[in-house]
């Protein structure tokens, strides 16, 4: 047998570098994905050893179950608002910090610090902010505003948006800041020479150059918001009632508390499908925009 070519040996060796990762990834993520698909066609309760096959019943139930639809509604609302608010504010603060303000590093650190805290801790701290601290602050100022945002179904989303934005504005701001600082100054200078005001400069020069940063931030914020769970566990427990139950919270509740692993798996499958669709749509749209700009 002829000796394997140098190229083949090399390729084989490269393969060995990939194998550990491939193995772990497959067992840790891909295998569960297919198992989840299998369980979603059963009515398994997580306790017993039998897996009664029920076909598409779980999926039909998803569409009919008001709690599932509510959970999706909350999650999507949370995501949409987050994406808008976090992006706008992150860019806003990045622009301010980019103007050569004194103590810029201090502000940057302060705004960034909250993202170091685990969301589960942030939820608990803010629960007390709303219950204790802000009312205490309000009474000092003499106002009667009701700060208990987590206490009403209509305001709980707002309350959670505040916490989430407090946590992550600083993070995305850093990305925008870096992008802003990479815009060559000559572009602005020639614009000034052409007589363009600062607003026109912003729209015609800054925004287009920020396109890649936009993509990263929008995709990142969307992905993170769709997965919200830790925050809800400690902040509101999904309440009041079910007003702040996200889709992952709903899956956890259904499967582990109410012992319906089959239905829970079906919910997981539907979540994955939606995530894939959103991700592909977003990437396609944003990449196109990037190229255009």
């Amino acid at each position: 047998m002829p000796k394997p070519s140098f190229q083949t040996v090399r390729t084989a060796q490269f393969l060995t570098l990939i194998v550990p990762g491939l193995l772990l990834f497959t067992v840790g993520l891909i295998l569960p994905m297919f198992l989840g698909l299998y369980y979603s066609f059963t009515s398994w309760d997580g306790y017993t050893k039998d897996f009664p096959f029920i076909g598409f019943d779980n999926f039909v139930r998803i569409v009919q179950d008001p709690h599932t639809l509510d959970a999706w509604g909350f999650t999507i609302e949370f995501t949409l608002w987050n994406t808008i608010i976090q992006n706008v504010l992150a860019l806003f603060f990045a622009v301010i910090l980019d103007t050569g303000l004194k103590a810029k590093t201090f502000y940057r650190t302060v705004l960034f610090l909250p993202c170091l805290v685990a969301p589960i801790v942030a939820g608990f701290v803010w629960q007390h902010m709303y219950i204790d601290v802000l009312p205490g602050f309000g009474s000092l100022l003499g106002t009667k505003i009701n700060f208990g945002l987590f206490g009403k179904a209509d305001t709980v989303l707002g309350g959670l948006l505040i916490v989430n934005n407090w946590q992550f504005i600083g993070y995305w701001m850093l990305i925008y800041l870096a992008a802003l600082q990479s815009i060559p100054a000559e572009l602005y200078e020639s614009a000034v020479v052409d007589g363009a005001g600062s607003w026109v400069q912003f729209v015609k020069i800054t925004l287009p150059m920020l396109a890649p940063a936009f993509t990263i931030c929008i995709v990142g914020i969307t992905a993170g918001s769709l997965r919200v769970y830790d925050l809800l566990v400690s902040a509101t427990g999904g309440g009041p009632g079910r007003a702040s139950t996200s889709i992952i919270f709903h899956i956890y509740n259904t499967a582990l508390n109410a012992q319906q692993y089959g239905y829970g798996s079906a919910l997981s499958v539907s979540l994955i499908v939606v995530l894939l669709i959103i991700a592909l749509v977003q990437l396609g749209y944003l990449k196109k925009k990037e190229i255009q700009l």
Binding site: W166, I175, A178, P212, S234, I248
Partner: protein, 287 residues
């Protein structure tokens, strides 16, 4: 010349006013952002009675460090801290090792299989593990990986691979192929090339990876709550959530525990700030 002076002065003045306004604005914003931190520190130093009865903004009468000693011995924050540190550092180590090697192999091979593998790994970014937590938990349970220290580490590595490989592949362009080729001509094996030539050049990339993954794992709750819930193995976040729910009357001790966990991670970040920002900006600029 004189005609333009007043305009210039006016512009300078309005410029100053604008800057002063911006500073003031940012100061107020900073105060608002720091209020929760102040709350945690404040509460961690108060006695239970002060917590319930005093104004929440008021400073404690005396600094009640008992909460901290209580957190350390009664709540075993020390052991839990070490657990979290162990899982994080070991997971990050293996992530760096495995993803670096895999990313390099992918970057240096144009073959169809390698291309396919890259996309295969990217699936994990589109499908985050949180969406799969239920089947992952079921698999982990069936394989007896729950409540073992290696189980949670395996899970963290498995779920972190996609992003890590994606990140590292992006950074591979910083490693000049010529150096590798030179090494190969000199007779170095692939492994030798990787460890002695490629790896040292990847330091900034590795730093970014380490920081990002360390954060994600340190702050994780979902996976930890499912896989390591026994007293001897649990992580800080699992402990905190138990404190928040089962001893909700004792949250001054919980706050002390929170401080104990937040301080080291902040120090880590502040000292590695440079690499972190560089890593973020590399992503932002390149796209």
């Amino acid at each position: 010349m004189n005609r333009f002076q007043p305009n210039k002065k006016r512009r300078q003045l309005s410029h100053l006013v604008r800057r002063a306004f911006l500073q003031l604005f940012m100061l107020v914003v900073s105060a608002a952002f720091l209020l929760p931190l102040y709350t945690v520190i404040n509460f961690s130093l108060k006695t239970k009675k002060e917590l319930y009865l005093d104004n929440p903004l008021a400073l404690p009468h005396a600094w009640f460090f008992d909460n901290y000693s209580s957190a350390l011995d009664r709540l075993h924050v020390g052991t839990t801290f070490l657990n979290t540190f162990l899982y994080t550092s070991v997971s990050v180590f293996f992530l760096a090792l495995i993803s670096g090697a895999a990313a390099w192999a992918i970057a240096r091979n144009r073959g169809r299989f390698f291309r396919f593998t890259y996309v295969y790994f990217l699936l994990g970014i589109l499908i985050p593990f949180q969406a799969l937590f239920l089947p992952i938990y079921i698999v982990g349970n069936a394989l007896h990986l729950t409540n073992t220290f290696y189980g949670i580490i395996l899970m963290y590595v498995a779920t972190g691979l996609s992003f890590s490989i994606f990140l590292m592949t992006g950074f591979m362009t910083q490693v000049p192929v010529e150096l590798e080729e030179a090494a190969q001509i000199d007779g170095c094996s692939i492994y030798r090339t990787y460890f002695s030539i490629v790896l040292p050049l990847l330091k900034p990339a590795m730093a970014t990876l380490v920081i990002l993954q360390a954060f994600a794992i340190w702050n994780d709750y979902l996976l930890a709550s499912l896989f390591v819930s026994s007293s001897s193995l649990k992580t800080l976040n699992v402990l905190f959530q138990q404190l928040f729910s089962t001893t909700s009357s004792n949250y001054s001790t919980a706050m002390a525990g929170v401080m104990i966990s937040v301080v080291p991670i902040s120090i880590l970040f502040l000292s590695l700030q440079k690499y972190f920002i560089k890593g973020l900006s590399a992503g932002a600029v390149k796209g």
